[in-house]
Each structure stands twice: as C-alpha cells, then as structure tokens.
Symmetry: C2
DNA sequence: TGCAATTAAATTGTGTGCAATATAAATTTG
DNA sequence: CAAATTTATATTGCACACAATTTAATTGCA
C-alpha cells in the first residue's frame, strides 16, 4: 500500500470526471468486448462466462468447482448455477468426489470436448476487430494482469 | 476491419489458452476493481453502476435516460430499473419531458448533489491500491479507450 | 477420541447487462 | 393530413456477480 496522497478539493472533483476514471474505461471496454463475443458464442450455445469455464476445462479436466473458481476469480455463487446450465446443455458432468464429499468434480463430456474445435475459430475472428498489433495487444494484456495482481484482496 | 489472418491449428489452440486472452484479463480485472469499490460505495448506499450514473449527472444534470446511456454505453433495459432504484433511494427524480413525452428527464435531488462531496474521497482511496504511477495509469486508461473505440459496433 | 475450527459447495437475495419485444410519442412521407 | 417509419423508454426473460448465510464434510488439536 502506497502512502496516501493529499489532494486539493478541485483535484478531488476533477478525479470524479468520468473520462478520468481508469475503472470506467475497464468497465465499458469489458462490456463491449463481451457484447462482441455474444453472437459468436451463441452459435455454440454458450455465454461468455460459460466459454471461460470451458477454456479452463479444455486446458485441464476434470477439475473441482473451487479449482475453476480460482482460475477465473469467481465464487461458487456464480459457478454453481453456471455449471448446472453447462451440465443441462450436455457439455460437462458434475460428480461429487468420493474421496472428499465436500468437493464436486467437473468433467467434460464428449460434446464439451468437441466444442473446442469450433471455439478455436473465435479468437481469430475477434482479433480482426481489435485494432492493435499483436505486440500492443500482448503489452496491454500484461499491464492488465499486473493491475489485477495489484488489486488482489489480502 | 483488418484482413483475416490465416493461422495453423496449433496456433488456434494456443490462442484458446486462458492466459493468452486479452478479453479475460479485461474481464477479471474489471470484476476485481468493482469488488474493491463495493465496500466504499456501500457506505454511500450505492452500487458501482449507480455511482457511474451519478458521475455523469454530477458533470451535467438534468439529462435524459438516453443521454446517460450514451455516456455509459448502457441501454434502457439496464438503466430504467437502476434509475428507479436511485429514485427510491432519494438521489434522483424521474420526470417525463413535457416537450417530448417520449423522454424521461433525470435530475439530481439535494441529497444526490450532496453525495458528490463524500464520493470525492473515493478515487484517492482506490489510487492507493493501483500500483501504477500516475503516468502509467493514464497510459493504460487511454489504451483501453482506444480499444473500446475499435470495438464499437457499426 | 471428541469437538471446535476450517473448508467446499450450495443457497438466497439483490442488482446488474442485455437481447427481444412492447408501447407510445414524434417525425417523415406520400 | 393520414399512414408508415422512427425514436425514446419500458418491460420481459435469462444469465451472471457477489455478499451473506447455510449445509455438510474434513481437519486440527486438546
């Protein structure tokens, strides 16, 4: 935690201007990005957060609900109903761990695994819309990760 | 729109890795930022999207629902119920425009205007958590705005 | 061993986001 | 000037996010 910075009243009012808010830039850009994904993911029958869960599972499955939540920084209040919808859609299974009955293990079904091939086309389709060079996009992504770490709760 | 880039299958699979996704970096960082705001805004009795609406109104009020939506990139499906909650909380009024009965004009109440003074402390409190220099924060913000514009629907 | 503390997931309740649709008022046009 | 079109907001329905709480299982420790 850095030392608190004393600011004048005009400076504090200036900081409240929408265009000066880093947080609003994040918020609005994320909303737009998600809206852009929506029609592409709708063809696969999933939403953006469901896509994120599948990205995690395509890298490694099966995984517990908690392990998925750790990767995505989401809690069971968000994940439990989302995973039930993915189960209903036939992309994952939810089975309680016999070794530790508190855990629920999420696995990919055949359909869930196969969806990966179709999803592989999506990043390229979106890259066209991002008017950044590959290097710029990577730099931005790494800055965001750094900010995300700085915002970690402790 | 830039030209489509042909990619190999391994490259497409690599692009699906969570850690390579700019979009997930945006998503996760925004969620964290909002969580960080939450306890500060709760003291004022508002949520983060409600805070954004008030930021817009503190710069200029009264404004129509549509004008607020244009600033925040939100539609009436999001704003109408949110504004009703701000009205119930006593921070704004919602009055149909007599000159154009389609429009609803949102104004600040005395309580809504006064909330600005207390809110003015918030950006400084959050700046402490963001481990970026002022220049870095501004650079990141401007890159995000550029990306946001690139993602504009047409 | 026995029980308090911890952990994992589910549940409850509130507030967004947004697509799709509905409603009503204003504007355009033939 | 009346019908078709457009515009502004509201409504409906669905899927998140997340705080707070609950439930059940495991771990720690006296």
């Amino acid at each position: 935690m850095t030392k608190p910075v004393k600011t004048s009243r005009p400076a504090r009012i200036e900081a409240l201007r929408l265009e000066n808010q880093l947080c609003f830039a994040l918020y609005a850009t994320t909303n737009r990005m998600t809206r852009l994904y929506q029609p592409l993911l709708a063809e696969l029958g999933i939403t953006y957060p469901q896509y994120l869960v599948l990205l995690v599972l395509w890298e490694q499955a099966p995984r517990s609900v908690g392990a998925i939540g750790q990767e995505l920084d989401l809690d069971s209040g968000t994940l439990t109903p989302l995973l039930k919808r993915l189960e209903t859609a036939g992309f994952v299974t939810r089975i309680r761990d016999t070794a530790d009955e508190r855990r629920v293990i999420i696995s990919l079904t055949e359909a869930g695994a196969q969806l990966r091939e179709r999803a592989a086309e999506i990043p390229g389709q979106l890259a066209c819309r991002v008017q950044l060079s590959r290097a710029e996009a990577i730099a931005l992504r790494e800055q965001l990760k750094q900010l995300q770490r700085a915002l970690a709760m402790d």
